[in-house]
Each structure stands twice: as structure tokens, then as C-alpha cells.
Symmetry: C2
Subunit: 87 residues, 2 copies
């Protein structure tokens, strides 16, 4: 069982009010030095069987079809390495 | 200018209706072989200056304080490598 991550972010030219709200709140809360914040979505898909090129192509199609709105959003698809994140 | 990514996901034991809705829609739309989907948030922070341990510690504190609700959500903080994603 492998995990594939689809990240969906608003395109750079699209206004991101959620991200702006976070960015404006940061200095007020004592966190300086952050010049921009963008907020998007992250999907973690548990894939049965091997994640080969065909499986990735299908997931990319699913992402394009209904996980992302490609008019206003960009997406990336990648296989998550185990223990990639750090708390 | 470096980019730090904060991923916020519901804890595994917390029900994720958004992810479930996506997972149930996938077979209907012709995408089989996905056994689970979890949906979360992704924040991209543009950090001024070097991203050293102190900066990462501050961002981790910000994530814990108000990007994530640590009662029900886990978060990871990482420096994004350039050209990590693939469309």
C-alpha cells in the first residue's frame, strides 16, 4: 500500500483571501518575517497495489477531473516517501 | 527567500467526511484501487531571510498555535525543495 499525495493550490495570479488572512494575522501574533502565505488543499490517497506510471497517470487524471479546478488551481501529484514529514 | 510548507491533516482517529466523500466518488467516476482518502490543508509560507533552526522553530510554534487545531489535527513543517512537485 503506497501513499500518493495530491497538492492543490490556487494559481499564483488568483487572489487567495484565506492565505492573506493568515499572513496578516502572523505579525499581530508575534511572528514576523513571513512575506506571503498561500493556503491550499492536500489529499492523501492510499493506493492498492503498485504505484507505477499507469497508476500515477490515473491519479493525475482524477486530480485534473475533480480534485482540482484547473481554471483557478494548479496541482502536483507525488508519491510520499515514508517518514518524510517532521513534527 | 525560501518556502516553508506546513501540512495540516486530521489525526488518523478523527473521522474525515471530506476525504470519505472523495473516496466514495472515485469508483463512480471510474477510478478504482484507492482504498482511502484523507483531505487536509497545505500552507505555503514565504520566509524572508535564512530558514535556520530558529526560523523553523518559530514557524512550528505558529503552526501549533493557530494554523492547526492540535486537538484534532497533526501538522508537519518542512522546507520545500525547489522543483519538488510535478504537474
Amino acid at each position: 500500500m503506497a501513499r500518493v499525495v495530491v497538492d492543490v493550490m490556487l494559481k499564483p495570479e488568483i487572489l487567495d483571501p484565506q492565505g492573506q488572512a493568515v499572513q496578516r494575522a502572523l505579525p499581530r501574533l508575534g511572528f514576523a518575517g513571513i512575506s506571503d502565505v498561500r493556503q491550499g488543499k492536500r489529499f492523501e490517497l492510499e493506493v492498492e497495489g503498485p504505484v507505477d506510471d499507469a497508476a500515477l497517470a490515473r491519479i493525475r487524471e482524477a486530480a485534473e477531473t475533480f480534485l482540482a479546478n484547473t481554471v483557478i488551481e494548479d496541482f502536483t501529484v507525488r508519491i510520499e516517501e515514508p517518514a518524510e514529514g517532521q513534527q
